[in-house]
């Protein structure tokens, strides 16, 4: 009973903080627009021929940018844990009678909800700037957005639980965010583009690869089949397995946090 209430209050806190952070909300609108308008305009012609005839580059790019937004938001959530440690609020949570599993899950699901909302914002922006897209596919995309968020947020929280100050967190951008992003097929198709095998081999170990692939399955429908990395169900299985592992790792990391 008290674990459930504890979970709820931790979840609610993350949502409130997210909604009140104006800067981040503005950023979450502007960044995808930059990618989907400027980047897409510059690179669309380079990809002619490597995409199926019935897909344009912006259609292809949108699921990738949704994945990227979730990834960056998830990692950014780790910063909150470090802030909480620096400003002492973490102590208030850690000395409470609530179990560490609940603390981790409350924060994780709360942050995932934030990342999930960001993903939806990007989807809607895609529609708003006129990317051909069936709005109904959002319904199929929702559970996938959530599934992707869980694992990625868990990475962010795990890393942050080991860090004691904000200085080190910039390195996460370089060593975790960008490699995961570039090696996920978010910006270019991994199949049929004549890519070096080392790149596709590494991408095969990247959980985000499967998350983005799953999104493309549901958002692009049959047009995506020729370039798919795996079938939708294999994608979902890999992401779910990754989530499970990361929840265990994250809970362990929170248990040893002082």
């Amino acid at each position: 009973m008290s674990e459930r209430r504890g979970f709820y209050s931790l979840w609610l806190r993350e949502i409130k903080r997210f909604i009140r952070d104006r800067t981040r909300l503005v950023t979450s609108f502007v960044q995808p627009i930059l990618w989907l308008i400027i980047f897409a305009a510059a690179f669309a012609t380079r990809f002619v021929g490597s995409l199926p005839a019935d897909l344009n580059f912006r259609q292809f790019l949108l699921p990738g940018i949704i994945g990227q937004t979730i990834l960056f938001t998830a990692m950014f959530m780790g910063i909150n844990v470090i802030w909480d440690k620096e400003f002492g609020f973490m102590k208030e949570i850690l000395v409470s009678p609530v179990s560490r599993l609940t603390i981790f899950l409350g924060k994780m699901v709360g942050d995932s909800t934030d990342a999930f909302l960001q993903g939806i914002i990007v989807f809607v922006i895609g529609l708003a700037i006129g990317i051909p897209l069936n709005p109904i596919t959002l319904l199929y995309a929702l559970p996938i957005l959530m599934l992707i968020s869980f694992g990625l947020v868990s990475i962010g929280l795990t890393i942050a639980s080991f860090m004691s100050n904000l200085e080190g967190f910039g390195a996460i951008q370089t060593f975790v965010n960008l490699p995961l992003f570039f090696l996920s097929g978010a910006l270019f198709p991994l199949k049929g583009g004549g890519l070096p095998t080392w790149l596709t081999d590494v991408a095969a170990w990247n959980p985000l690869t499967y998350g983005v692939d799953a999104l493309r399955h549901v958002m692009l429908g049959n047009s995506w089949a020729p370039l798919q990395v795996q079938s939708l169900w294999v994608d979902l299985g890999v992401v779910a397995l990754f989530d499970g592992i990361m929840v265990v790792v994250g809970t362990w990391a929170f248990t040893r946090m002082k």
Binding site: M1, S2, R5, G6, Y8, S9, L10, L12, R13, K16, R17, R20, D21, D84, F87, G88, F89, K91, E92, I93, L94, V95, S96, P97, V98, K258
Partner: protein, 329 residues
């Protein structure tokens, strides 16, 4: 139960440093118990062990009848903690911080509103309850933290340096709240402080700590009585010289120089004053002023540790004690 806290040989060792050294102490139910000592004496370490944040190296303790190691979760439900450093979420409002705390400590939903409203009233923050914490002053934050520690009706409230860094007026205010909260909730309060006046004015009993040990434990008035005497405070042009003479010729060892004045603790101050004046005149030392006062806790501390607490506080910032404090943190 009359012993709400009981420690047995409680010890915490960091490497070669004994932060807390075989402490045996009991706290009675319903009292305000003060742990007084310089920074680095081990006060926070003791509190952290009692709050189950740290595990003792040796020994054990019970809080509200529960073992701090084996029944940590029950201990956590029995206690409220106000940390030395702030621990509130400044992106939430005062009210939200209180509700969050109530949820973390399993306060039934049906009682939350009433309790939160009562606490807000008690710490006089009703009109600011829905403002974000970042707009609060230091004193207001402290008050909210004090109130928050009581939401789940703890048996013991731990206050670690509750007024450090606050201005004198706010400190007065906070002291008033601590007494009121204790009255209103009938709880036991354990507080650490390195402020003599704070310990003196708030505590029913005081344990003086130094280098991880409790040197003496008694009520503030008894502690002062044990010094059996008066303090003669002398200002003169050659204070060092006079200090030496007082020991050499008159045999008084209980003395210290505070802010340029010599303070000598003696049995019969009225009789001693003229003798010191005479001694000064004989040795061509010009006496500017002499006064007699009752001993305070600072004198008690000096008596039992041989050191001045304030001297130690400044020294620890750059000396060995600074390293000691860092090790503890």
């Amino acid at each position: 139960m009359s012993h709400i806290i009981e420690t047995r040989q409680l010890t915490k060792v960091y490497g070669s440093l004994k932060a807390v050294d075989k402490v045996d102490v009991t706290v009675e139910s319903g009292e305000i118990f003060g742990l007084l000592g310089p920074n680095g004496a081990g006060k926070t370490t003791i509190i952290s062990m009692l709050c189950t944040i740290l595990k003792p190296t040796l020994g054990t303790a019970t809080v509200n009848g529960y073992d701090i190691v084996k029944e940590a979760n029950k201990v956590r439900k029995s206690i409220g903690i106000v940390f030395q450093d702030p621990s509130i979420d400044d992106r939430l409002t005062g009210r939200e911080n209180l509700y969050m705390h109530a949820n973390l400590y399993g306060v039934p939903a049906s009682e939350q509103k009433e309790r939160v409203d009562r606490i807000l009233k008690l710490v006089e923050l009703e009109d600011r309850a829905d403002d974000l914490l970042r707009t609060y002053s230091g004193g207001m934050r402290r008050r909210l933290e004090l109130g928050r520690g009581l939401i789940h009706y703890p048996k013991v409230l731990f206050l670690d340096e509750p007024t450090v860094g606050l201005d004198p007026q706010t400190r007065d205010h906070i002291w008033k709240y601590i007494r009121e909260l204790k009255q209103a909730h009938d709880i036991t309060v354990v507080l650490t402080t390195h402020y003599m006046d704070e310990a003196d004015r708030l505590s029913d009993r005081i344990a003086i700590m130094d280098y991880g040990k409790i040197v003496i434990l008694d009520s503030p008035s008894k502690l002062k009585e044990t010094l059996e005497g008066d303090v003669v405070v002398i200002r003169a042009n050659n204070i060092e010289g006079l200090s030496e003479l007082v020991t050499e010729r008159l045999g008084f060892n209980q003395k210290q120089i505070v802010d340029g004045a010599l303070e000598v603790t003696v049995r019969n101050g009225k009789a001693v004053m003229p003798r010191i004046m005479e001694l000064a005149t004989q040795n061509n030392i010009y006496v500017e002023s002499v006064l007699l006062r009752e001993p305070n806790l600072e004198d008690v501390f000096l008596h039992y540790t041989g050191r001045n607490i304030r001297e130690d506080t400044t020294r620890e910032l750059h000396g060995a004690a600074a390293a000691r404090r860092r090790a503890i943190r």
